[in-house]
Structures are given as structure tokens and as C-alpha cells.
């Protein structure tokens, strides 16, 4: 029988823990993933060009620049107009319950992982004070994100139509069309699996069986709950999809990649 002197409070302090598994791996991967996407998104939005591919009759608009406010309203802001739109998905994702968990853990180490020590913060207020009390506005970003989804669905459907040699539009399918549909489908699943949506659609009810309306809302709530169960997965797939859609269109517009017409 041997004895090891160690106090029970030995795991106080950043990263201190008695855990032996690779608890640091997940927050590290999230940090890398979110930082990479953030840097790319800011760079792509800053460019203000190569966001539209119209080669071979296609019409692919990058999701970072949708809706195309410049074409709709015809004005030329002194900065890339992507910034007029991007604050909506940024706010939606930043206040999303999944992403909150992700960045509280990976960026703020609050906590970095379960049962792992964190930086000493005598004034911890959670989400009760500014700025994190603003997380309560998540549902408003959800409403705005729904408007963007309409625009993205329009873009995906528009990508099904190719301008022919006579100037008319023909139904078609390119790899870019698939990329844009993948993007909008994953974003739709992410948005409708949102916890605020789940609450608004039926979670706020206490009695699901009380009326015809509540029974309908119960069915919708169950559907949203199925999406919500995989909210984290949808969050990451949709993040990848939106980044890749922009990259694909950008590289096609720059002539580096060539869109393949499938039909």
C-alpha cells in the first residue's frame, strides 16, 4: 500500500484535471474549425468580387453575397455589400445554443471541458449581464435567418436554369447547382432544428392535446425535435457547406475550377 500526497482540490486552475482522456482534443478541433471558417468568411466577404459565376450560361451566386443587394437595388456601398447581409447568419450562429457551448468551451475555456479547471473569474455572470444577455435575442436572428433562407432557396432554384445560346433559360444541372442545393438544404435543417424554433413551434405549450391547433403544433414540434437532436451535426455540416459553396463559386469565377454540366 503506497500513499500519494495530493489535495482533493489539486485540479483548480486552467486545464487542471484528473481526467486522463484526450479532453483537450474536441475544444482544440472546434477552435481550429471555427477560426478557419471565420478567417475565410471575413476574407471572402472583404473581396467584393468573384461571388457570381455566369460562365456557360450558369448563374451561381455565393451564399455570402445572397441576396445580391447590389443587383436588386443598384447601389454601390463603399465596402463589400456582403457585410450588409453577413451579420444575420453571424448573429444567428453566435447566439445558437450549440455554438454557445462550442465557443464558451473552446475560446473562453469556461469550462474547456467537463471537470476540467478554468481561468479564475471572480465576476462570472454567465448569460445574465451584457454582453451575453444578448443571447436572449436568438429568436430574432432566427426570424431574420428565415428571410435569408428564402433568398438562398431562390438562388439554388435559379441555379437550375442555364442561359442558352439564344438567350432563353433552359433547365439544367451543374455541379454548382448540387453545391448550392446541398448548402441550402443543410442550412434549412440547421435553422429549423434551432432550439428557439422548437420552443416557438410547440415547446412553449403545456398541453399538446387540448385543441386542433395544439395537436398540429405538437406534430410540428416532434419534427423539429428530430432535427434538433442532431443540431450540432447540422451546425457543422451547414458551416462547411456554406464555406465550400462560396469557395466553389469563387474558384469557378476565377477560372481555376471548371463547373461540370451534368445535364
Amino acid at each position: 500500500m503506497t500513499q500519494t500526497e495530493l489535495t482533493a482540490a489539486a485540479d483548480h486552475g486552467v486545464g487542471m484535471t484528473a481526467r486522463r482522456d484526450a479532453w483537450w482534443l474536441q475544444p482544440l478541433l472546434i477552435f481550429i474549425g471555427l477560426t478557419t471558417f471565420g478567417v475565410y468568411a471575413i476574407w471572402a466577404a472583404w473581396q467584393g468580387n468573384n461571388y457570381l459565376y455566369v460562365g456557360h450560361g450558369a448563374y451561381y451566386l455565393s451564399p455570402f453575397y445572397s441576396p445580391d443587394l447590389q443587383a436588386i437595388f443598384g447601389f454601390q456601398p463603399p465596402f463589400s455589400f456582403a457585410f450588409l447581409v453577413l451579420w444575420i447568419p453571424l448573429g444567428f450562429r453566435a447566439s445558437c445554443y450549440y455554438y454557445r457551448k462550442a465557443y464558451y468551451r473552446s475560446y473562453m475555456l469556461d469550462p474547456p471541458a467537463c471537470a476540467v479547471g478554468e481561468p479564475k473569474n471572480r465576476c462570472y455572470q454567465g448569460e445574465r449581464k451584457f454582453p451575453f444577455i444578448l443571447q436572449n435575442l436568438h429568436r430574432y436572428f432566427f426570424y431574420l435567418a428565415l428571410l435569408l433562407l428564402v433568398s438562398l432557396w431562390y438562388d439554388a432554384i435559379r441555379a437550375l436554369f442555364f442561359r442558352g445560346p439564344n438567350g432563353g433559360l433552359q433547365l439544367g444541372l451543374g455541379v454548382g447547382t448540387l453545391v448550392l442545393f446541398f448548402n441550402v438544404i443543410t442550412l434549412t435543417a440547421f435553422s429549423f432544428g434551432c432550439n428557439s424554433c422548437r420552443h416557438l413551434i410547440g415547446g412553449q405549450l403545456n398541453c399538446f392535446s387540448c385543441s386542433c391547433t395544439t395537436r398540429t403544433r405538437y406534430k410540428l414540434w416532434r419534427g423539429v425535435s428530430v432535427l434538433n437532436l442532431k443540431h450540432m451535426e447540422w451546425a457543422w455540416v451547414s458551416l462547411f457547406a456554406v464555406g465550400f459553396a462560396d469557395l466553389y463559386i469563387r474558384l469557378c469565377a476565377m477560372g481555376i475550377w471548371h463547373d461540370v454540366r451534368l445535364w
Binding site: A8, K101, A115, E118, G126, E127, N136, H199, N206, S209
Partner: protein, 244 residues
């Protein structure tokens, strides 16, 4: 039968240490079996709280290899083979002795929650879909692993201002009950400190009953608090409905 080294916390609130014990590991053995073997063969004074040994009483919560777990539900063959197994008491509660902690704070918090209060017009006829959500919360065995792992309690020691995940689950089970008529929203927002929770989901990760504590209890309660206190459109809608 193989031998494994267990590093078990021994001590009381004045201090303590990890003590190494050799355990003869058998097939199907759980950590609580190993602790019992240590008590039987090497340390009869080792204090450990347990009762059912079936993951239903919630008594044998401890930190095994640094993770909050029920000792009776942690099989040795699920731990990395050949490694020393460390067992220590739950860190967020005052230590009594060895692996036993004083969890009475949780019972004090529980007393602050107004119990089930039926609506005056309660019919007592309920449909399954109306009680499904509440039934999930009724699985809680009050092991307090979620309270132990929650960083608001564990790291920030805000026990005076925070009820903790176990009691958010209890409040959710009352608030969502179709026959309950009491409003606990002010309690949730202020006294219970729901806003201190930053939804990092550790409570869900450690729950031995696999209750979706964050997604099905805490977040829905946060959204109800938003309805009441932070959403101007919801406020306007309530005004219009009340005026009709």
C-alpha cells in the same frame, strides 16, 4: 483474474491523500465492487456511500479517473486496461470522509421550489403526449453528478445564487406539467439563477439516466424566460390577447 491498482482518496475536510490498493479484477466487475473488495480485504474503515448497486439509488457518485460517474455503473473493462484507476469524492460538495460528501445543499435547494400545484380546473385526464416530456425528467435518481460537474458550482462556487441542473429539471417537470397551475418563471430567472448557466452541457454528458438535461429542460426554460422577460413581441402579443 488480473490485478489492478486503485488510487483511492482517503481523508476528511482537514486534508487527505490518495492511497494505492491492489484489487483482483474479475469479469463483469464495476468500480463499486473494487471499493467493496478494498473494504473487505485491506481497508475496513474506507468510507463509501452506496445502496442499490443497480444505478437506481444515486448514492455512489464519485470521480473515476477524473470523470463524475456512478461507481456501480462503471465497469472496469470500460476503463483503459493496465492503467491505475483513480477514485475520489465528488469535488463540488464538502467532504465528510474518504468518498463520502455532504450533499445536503441540494436538499436545501429542493425545498425552495414550490411543489406541484394543480390548476383549479384540472380534469386529471391526461394524454400520453402531454406527459412524455415530464416522464423523461422523472427518471432522475438524484445522484447529483450533474450538480457536481456544473462549472457554476464546481469552479465558480455560486451555490448561493444558483439551483443547478438537477433543479432546473425539477422546475421544468412542474412548469411543463399540463395540470400544474403555478408560475415559477420569476423564481427561475432570479432566485434559481438560470441565466448563470451557459449551456455547456456537462450535466447532460454525465447523467447516468441519459436525461437530455440541457436540450429538454434547461433550454426550454431559458426560452420561457425569454418569452416573459426579453421578447418585446411576445410581450405585445400577451397584451393584445389579454385585452380581448
Amino acid at each position: 483474474m488480473s490485478s489492478r491498482v486503485f488510487k483511492v482518496w482517503r481523508g476528511d475536510k482537514s486534508g487527505g491523500r490518495f492511497v494505492d490498493y491492489q484489487v483482483q479484477a474479475e469479469e463483469g466487475m464495476v468500480v463499486l465492487d473494487a471499493i467493496h473488495q478494498i473494504q473487505r480485504t485491506q481497508a475496513p474503515d474506507l468510507a463509501c456511500r452506496w445502496n442499490c448497486k443497480a444505478a437506481k439509488c444515486g448514492s455512489c457518485g464519485a470521480e473515476v479517473n477524473g470523470k463524475p460517474r456512478l461507481m456501480c455503473k462503471t465497469r472496469l473493462d470500460a476503463l483503459p486496461p493496465g492503467e491505475v484507476v483513480s477514485v475520489r469524492p465528488m469535488r463540488s460538495f464538502p467532504l465528510i470522509r474518504d468518498l463520502v460528501t455532504d450533499v445536503s445543499w441540494n436538499f436545501q435547494v429542493n425545498q425552495k421550489i414550490p411543489p406541484f400545484t394543480p390548476r383549479p380546473d384540472a380534469t386529471w385526464i391526461m394524454q400520453q403526449e402531454d406527459v412524455d416530456r415530464v416522464q423523461e425528467f422523472r427518471k432522475c435518481i438524484e445522484c447529483f453528478l450533474c450538480q457536481n460537474v456544473c462549472h457554476v458550482v464546481r469552479e465558480h462556487d455560486l451555490k448561493q445564487h444558483f439551483f443547478g441542473p438537477r433543479f432546473f429539471v425539477r422546475i421544468a417537470s412542474l412548469q411543463m406539467h399540463p395540470m400544474d397551475g403555478l408560475d415559477r418563471m420569476a423564481l427561475l430567472k432570479d432566485q434559481a439563477g438560470l441565466g448563470l448557466c451557459n449551456v455547456t452541457k456537462c450535466c447532460t454528458e454525465v447523467c447516468p439516466e441519459e436525461i437530455h438535461i440541457t436540450d429538454n429542460a434547461i433550454i426550454p426554460m431559458k426560452e420561457r424566460v425569454v418569452d416573459r422577460y426579453y421578447d418585446p413581441l411576445a410581450w405585445l402579443w400577451r397584451k393584445i390577447r389579454n385585452a380581448r
